[in-house]
Assembly symmetry: C2
Homo-oligomer: 70 residues x 2
């Protein structure tokens, strides 16, 4: 099975594209540095729970949906 960071990154990307927003826009909505999102989506970042919460709010999904089927 793929590394959890890679699987999570793909999920964030999937949800972002569903919302039709750019990585920059997601960073802005999630109050994260804009260079952070490419690192998450490419599976390089070991995301913390506080960052996950920011992403779930920005993507308008609850936290557990962010990790569903990973």
């Amino acid at each position: 099975m793929e590394d959890i960071k890679v699987r999570f990154g793909k999920k964030v990307r999937e949800l972002r594209l569903l919302k039709e927003i750019s990585q920059e826009k997601l960073a802005e909505l999630a109050d994260l540095d804009r260079t952070y999102i490419p690192g998450i989506e490419s599976g390089k970042r070991n995301v913390s729970i506080t960052v996950m919460e920011k992403l779930s709010i920005a993507l308008e999904v609850n936290l557990s949906d962010l990790l569903k089927n990973l």
Copy 2:
């Protein structure tokens, strides 16, 4: 609303007690340093996704269940 780290810590504790295992046993099962679990359960640790995966395996729940209703 309580800080996400505190809410997560309470969830880990709840699941651990349901399994009737000690913090030391959870640390062993999750391949984490035994001093790490008290910090998580008291909401002091900003847990990463890789640690979450280890906890979900040790607690025998899937990742999204670990964050359900947080």
